[in-house]
Amino acid sequence: MKKFINNPANLVGELLEGFALAFPEKIKLRGKNLIIRATPKQPGKVGVVTLGGSGHEPGLSGFVGEGLLDISVAGGIFAAPGGPAVADAIKLADGGCGVLLIILNHAGDIVSGNMAVDLARRKGTTIESVLTHEDISTGPKHRHENGRGLVGFLPVFKIAGAAAEQGMNLAAVRAIAERMSANMRTLAVAIRAATHPATGAVIGDPTNPLGDSEMEIGMGQHGEAGVGRSALKSADETAAIMLDALLDHLDVKAGEELLVIVNGSGATTLMELFIVFRRISQLLLEKNIHITRSLVGEYITTQEQAGFQLCIARMDGQLLRLWDAPCDSPYWVVR
């Protein structure tokens, strides 16, 4: 895969440096891989930290800023950062009121996140964590706790970030982040696999590549193969299949209000995402379900993977107020 890169061994270092240079008024690179706010949060408020692999830009570090994260710890390409670095971040983010660590459910993030929590606790920091695991393709109803963390990190960052900014205590920030996490569901679809940018190799079983007229529901954020291969369908048909599965899993009833996010995986155009969103809107209207808030864009990508993630979330008054609160990060600003 043709790319504008230099030595593949330096990908992460160079991309983080470039990112920090591009947004000096919003964020800073601290040490090797801690993205911190340019102006730290005032002490006396709960810190909010996350961790995750690189190669998914703008996720996750693009959402460090006022009203969102305090620190994002960036790992290698598609690889979680180590626990000690995360523990350092937790310490740094602690303004005396403890820290909430948001972990996306992926093997490496769990291992490093848990290790960091251990290390931070041993150093006396008050630390709680919340897990996002809203993928329904890997987390069917009877074991939803197994689901991967996909674009649903964004509402959880937003809610936790806003709650912390407003001065809620750690228990309250954690509780509302959990509520957001428990009330969202995501499903992904892909029509083209990603490559690993350091090797250029396509991710996926070479003996069973995604055909030219196939799509795969459930393909992971790292290009991991999914479970629902089928013939490529139209935007409208795909939207309907995915929406139905999500509504069923979250058990949404007529009359309810939903947040809807359509997240492009990298190579899929905004044009396509709008066409998908249009159909989602129509279908929800037919079902008398109201879209109360929405986002369409690229929040977490996987190189040149083509496809999208559809996320729905049940909102309530408090969640909506926090969702609407101002924030100011490189890739999401709310006035």
């Binding site: 061994a9 992460v12 090797k32 891989n33 692999g53 960036a74 790992g75 290698g76 390409i77 598609f78 690889a79 979680a80 950062p81 180590g82 626990g83 000690p84 670095a85 992926h106 093997a107 490496g108 769990i110 291992v111 490093s112 848990n114 290790m115 251990d118 393709s137 890997t138 197994n146 991967r148 690993h196 350091a198 090797t199 190799a201 396509v202 991710i203 996926g204 079983d205 070479p206 459930g218 992971g220 790292h222 290009g223 991991e224 193969a225 999914g226 479970v227």
Partner: protein, 219 residues
């Protein structure tokens, strides 16, 4: 097998040989991870392995400090699940070696066991789940059960390496239940788990690293 001790230098050369095997086979590891994971396992192991090997060439204070440093490099290599788990493994070994300048074989095998215990703090995977545990558990079990037998260190490590290799081979038949691959379930059958393969390579290297040429017996 009593009476032999490993000093810092021997531990270093054992570790070095282990990571050397891993580094040499990184391409195979990436290939395996491309099939059912995200195609980066060999990359992570190459990067961590090379920095570990560079570190092992430096003189070291004591055994625990070597192991702490190895663990630190694995953890700070930001290499995902496998690096984090291996990092915790060597951290557990280090804790068990605190204050020691040489290890007898009983100490050595309990250090390996302590490593496994530490690693288990961070995953619930067990042999049978198609992860690195499929290779690591049987290998450590051999070390633990054999240090009482009358065998040389090399011979025990050779048995452990064989157990790791067999464990890794067996993952071919399994559906994945942990890590990124879990979601593919039966579609992973037929492919060896990358992490288990790494463990098998590591122990094959440990065996080579303990061969008499490098091994200074203190009998």
């Amino acid at each position: 097998m009593s009476g032999t001790h490993l000093a810092v230098a021997e531990i270093q050369s054992m570790l070095d040989a282990g990571f050397s095997e891993v580094v040499q086979n990184h391409a195979q590891l990436t290939e395996l991870d491309s099939i059912s994971g995200d195609g980066d396992h060999g990359i992570a192991m190459l990067r961590a392995g090379e920095s570990v090997r560079a570190l092992l060439r430096e003189p070291a204070k004591n055994i625990a400090s070597v192991l702490v440093a190895v663990s630190g490099l694995l953890l700070s290599s930001d290499g995902g699940a496998s690096s984090a788990l291996l990092g915790s493994f060597f951290l557990g070994m280090a804790d068990a070696c605190a204050g020691k300048n040489e290890l007898d074989w009983a100490e050595m095998s309990s250090a390996f066991h302590a490593g496994l215990q530490k690693l288990r703090c961070y995953t619930e995977a067990k042999a049978g789940d198609k992860t690195m545990l499929d290779a690591l558990e049987p290998a450590v079990a051999v070390l633990v059960s054999s240090h009482t037998c009358n065998l040389t260190i090399e011979a025990v490590m050779a048995l452990a390496a064989r157990a790791a290799r067999n464990g890794a081979l067996q993952t071919k038949e399994m559906p994945a239940r942990f890590g990124r691959a879990q979601h593919l379930g039966n579609r992973t059958i037929g492919w060896q788990d990358p992490g288990a393969t790494t463990i098998a390579l590591l122990f094959r290297g440990f065996e080579k690293g303990l061969q008499p040429k490098e091994h200074h017996s203190r009998g």
